[in-house]
Structures are given as C-alpha cells and as structure tokens.
Amino acid sequence: MSNSGRWRTVFRKEFSEVWRERRSLFQLVLMPLLITPLLLAGVGKMTRSRIDDARKESVTLGIVGAKNSRLVEELIAGQNAAQTRVSFRPVGTRAEAEAAIQKRDLRAALVVPADAETAVEESRPIDLILLSDQGSDESQNAADSARKLFDKFTTVVVTRRMQAADLPMQTAEPLRLVEKSVAGGGGAGMMMLTTLLPYILSLSAILGGVGVAFDAVAGEKERGTLETLLVSPVARRELVLGKFLTVSAIALVNSVFSVVGMLWPFYVKLPMFAWMAAGGLKLSGGAIAALFFVQMPVALLGAGLLLTISTLSRNQKEAQGYLAPLMLVMSVASMMTVLLKTESPLWWALVPVTNSGLVLKQALSGIVNPTFVAVACGASLLYAALAIFYARTVFEKESVLLKA
C-alpha cells in the first residue's frame, strides 16, 4: 500500500467500527427512521385533536351594551336560538367584562357603544371594542368568534342602510371569494415538511457525527490508543483525513435516514400518519436531489468543527462540555430556517447552516433559485474547508494531541 493511501485503512476501520455498537444503530438508524416520525405523528395527532376540541368547545362571549341596541339584541337572540357553539351573555359594564375575562369567567367580550342604535340610523360609523386575553389560547379562540360576529353585525348594518337608501343588495357584495383546494398540492404534512425538514436535516447533518467525532480523537486519547497510532508510519494528515471522512460519512448517513424517516409516512397508509399524508406529497426529483446535495457541505463543516473539539479535549466528557455552545449556535442557525421567509434575501446564502436549510425550504416549496443555491453551496464549502484546515492544524499540535 502506498504511504499516501493509509487514510483509506483508517476510514474503513473507523466507519465499520461505528456499526459494531448497538447505540450507534439506535442513534443513527432507528432514531431518524422510526422514532422521529412516530414522535411527529404523536405530536401532530395531539395538536389536531386539540384544534378539533377547540372547534367543538362551546364559547361564551360577553356583550356590553346589548340593551342599548335593538339590533344587537336581535342578533344575540338569533345566534342563541340557532344553538351554535357560540353563546352570548349580556354584561353590564366594560369593567365588569374585563374582570370576568381576568377571572376566566368569560373568554372575550364585545363592547357596543351606548349610541349604537342612533349611529346605525344616522349612518355614522360605530366603534366596537373587542376585549380578550392575549396570553390565552382559549381567549384568542373566543376573540375569533367575536370577530365573526362582528362581520355578521357589519352585514346586518350595511343591509339596513342599503334598504334605507333604496339600493339593490348586490351593491353591498361586489366581490365573492370561492375557495377550492387543489388535489396533490400538499396538505398539513407538506406544510410540516417545508417547515421542519430543513431544521431537522441541518441539525442532523451536524449532530449526527457527534458520537463518532468525540470517539475518534478524545476517545482514543482516553483509551490510550492514539499514541499507538501516532507511532505508526501513517502521516498525521492521513489520520485526520481518515477520521474526518468517517465523521462526515456518518453525519450524511444520519441525514439520509432523517430524510427517509420524514418521507415514508407519506407512502405508508397508517392511520397515525393520516393527517400528515392527507394532502399528498408533491416533491419533485430536483427537490429530492437538493435534499441530499445540500447536506454534504453542512456535514463536512460539522465534521471539521466536531473533530476540532474532539482534538482539543482531554476526554469525551470534556468534549461534551465544549459541545454545548456549538449546539446552541447550530440550533439557532437551524431555527432561522423555520422563521425566515422561503425567498429570503441573497445575503442569507452566506450564513452557514441557515443557508442550506433555506435551499431545502425553497426546494420543498418548488422554488429553484440557481444564484441562491450556488452562493449557499459555495459559502458552505468554503466554511467546511476552513473547518477541515483548522481541524488538521489542531491535530498537528503536539501539545494538544498528547494532552491527557
């Protein structure tokens, strides 16, 4: 074997060694392939049932000043008689309504001004005040119901004014919106994929290699095997290359399983995934290629950073300590993809990790922006090269390498 090919031996040994541990199989295969989709299905099901419960739940809205308006009285009577889930309770004053909302006796309340009836007759605008608790989901749901009531109230007032002015009813309704869902455009699951997948993949491309990276140098220091490697004829650059490629490959494997784990629920008709798969999955070949392609520079960057941490640490425990700040930064960078718009300004393509997440988000949304993709990939490769260079520099430092 040529002296320059020994990194292959290191890579082959390290890569195959990873799969000898049950823990690796669990973390790298079982977790992304089974546990993550099952967790998502569980969380999704819980969210859906909560939304359904909220829809079915009866809501009591307070109305202040109902006695001042015959119109409001009629509206309330009509609503209550229809036996919908929204019922109304007259409240004396605004202060009483506020106190009731604070005590959670009421979820929200609508304050009708004292001159409402006169204003309707005189064609003056009427200011209704909606009281709700911004920090409570239930209160906000009730406020939504109040808004719908407000729309109805508006329609009734407009109708009255139209009749008074002897105008045809069509004048009040110049436009009509007809909503139709398009089959195969993707439903809740597709929306979840677009939001969550870039985040999960960016993280898994980096964090998938943590265990391997820490074992590769800090672990070898701990076990006393690193010194035996250093006295072998293998050049240090080859050692670091073999280990670096192992970490990158494992991170990529983890990413691939994460992608597969997020996609298979759409194709397997299981009841628990029904809510996800309901709208179908519209994923082009280009989007799937992008899923895998943009992971590579992120995995390389992560491998470089993790190996550097591993080399700087005396043991795996110390490396775990250094990992916390990196995790935080990476999580924030990944989280940005959830918060940012799909078509963000070009300079976001320079931000590591976030840029790959955005490319994924765009691909999942059917958007292909070659400039953004090129800048994002170029920048990520540059950061990865810097990380590898730094990892190698640290690995050459004898004071760091023999620290124990």
């Binding site: 074997m1 020994r6 006393g224 095997t225 490697l229 250093l230 072998s232 004829p233």
Partner: protein, 288 residues
Amino acid sequence: MGWTPKPSRSSPRVFNQKFPTAWPWGIFSVLVQLPGFLRYKNPVIEVVGLSKVFSDKKSGPKKAVDGVSFTARPGEIFGLLGANGAGKTTTLRLLATILTPSSGTARIDGFDIVKDSQKVRERLGYLTGSAGVYERLTARQVLHYFGELYGMDLAQRTRRIAELTETLELSEFLDRRCDKLSTGQKQRVSIARSVLHDPPVLFFDEPTAGLDVMAARTVVRFIKSCREMGKTVLFSTHIMSEVEALCDRIAVIHDGRVFADGTLQELRAQTGVQAFETVFLRLIGVNE
C-alpha cells in the same frame, strides 16, 4: 500459570524492505544485507544532546528533556531509570517522533528522527503500560488494522499473525472482541501489535504499569525474549527490580538530564553501594 514467549525464527526486518532469496537474487540479497549486518555492530539508537522545552502560559517554558545523550546496540536492553516526571516518557516520545525535539539529534537504525520520521516509525515497536486496544474489534482485527497501517499486505499479515498467535499464545481469544478480554490478554494483544511488523527497535514505556503480577511477568519475559531475538530495546521504568532483572545498561535520568549511565556493575562501583535503590538515589544526589 505464567506464559513464556517463544523466540521468533525470523530475523529483524522491516516489512517494507523485501529481499528476494531465489538465485541469483540470493547472492544479491546477501550483498545488500551485508552493510546492514555491519551496521548492527554499531549502535542502533544514537541520541546526542536531545532537549525538549514545553511552553506553558502560566509557568513559562519548562525543559522536560535537557541534553540527553546515550547509545544502544542490537541485542541489548537499555534502561531509562527515573522517578515519575523525570523525562523518560518525553525522551521516548521524542525518539518515537511523536514529539519534535527543541535541540539535539537522534538516529534510530541509521535514520534521523526529524528528517526521516516515517522511516524511524517503520522500524519501531512501541508499547506503553497505558496503551489500549480497540474494544469493539477482535484481537485479530486489531492486528490486521495495524499491519495494514505498517504497509503489510494480507499474506504478510496473515503469516505474521499466525506466528505471533503461536509465540504469544493468542489462539484462545484471537477472535474475541477486545472488550471481553482480561487485562493480561489485552496486554498480550498490545505486545503482538507492537512487534507485528517485526521491528529491529523496541521501546517499552513503563509497560508493566497497572498490570497484575502475572501480566507483568508476561511482559518482562517478552522483553527478555526480544534480547534473544537481537532487537535493540529501550526500556523506561521507575521499578528497580525490573531494571536489575532486565537491563544490560542503564541511564539514570532526573529532571530531564542523564546523571549517569553504564552497566549495573559500573553504577554500583561508581557509588560504592550494592542496593540499587541507594545507587539510584546517590546518583541523583539524594543522600539518605
């Protein structure tokens, strides 16, 4: 029951150097090896004024090894005797090219430790008491891995592993994962790993540290067998009994400097005492 290593039939060689033996190459091979044979008359380890300074941000520069010089010849066990922190391990690491010297030179089997570091490492077997093995691999896989790193092809590795399995009695656990092995068995795997490429020079850095009596005896016997095989052995320890049992010549090292070197008899004569512990203390300037 103790284990006694059987001397290997093979002569010291490096696996990357292959000499054909069939006629007419047999004659050529002898001619080529002749200078090597002559070379073994001379020291295989030559250390001249070797120093290593570590820089520390808090305490400033620290001279761990200070102008160390000595030589060792084939078939000789040369001991580096010193207390913990005396500079023994740093000296061995410098000679093994893990560290770069601040000043001074050293040649191993004719190769400079700085200019020809890879050649030096090819000719070197290195065993420490703290050396571990890859727990998830079997003993056989560990040996194949290191054999590959030393540039041995599959046939060479297979043959050499078979030889060492017989010599070191590894057959019982050769295909068992290393995390299932006892400390003594792991140490035997480490020994096999260090001599797999049949190096002419062997470094042992406190090889019995942390071992029980039986495992330590195995190591000591193996080191003795290396002398019989004509290897040049550099043995670092702080245990007087091991020095007396093993070493042909000794360098007493303290605070990074060699205070004296010679045979056991020469050092006893120099200090005028018989108990070797007292010899050591007198040489480093401690009077009881």
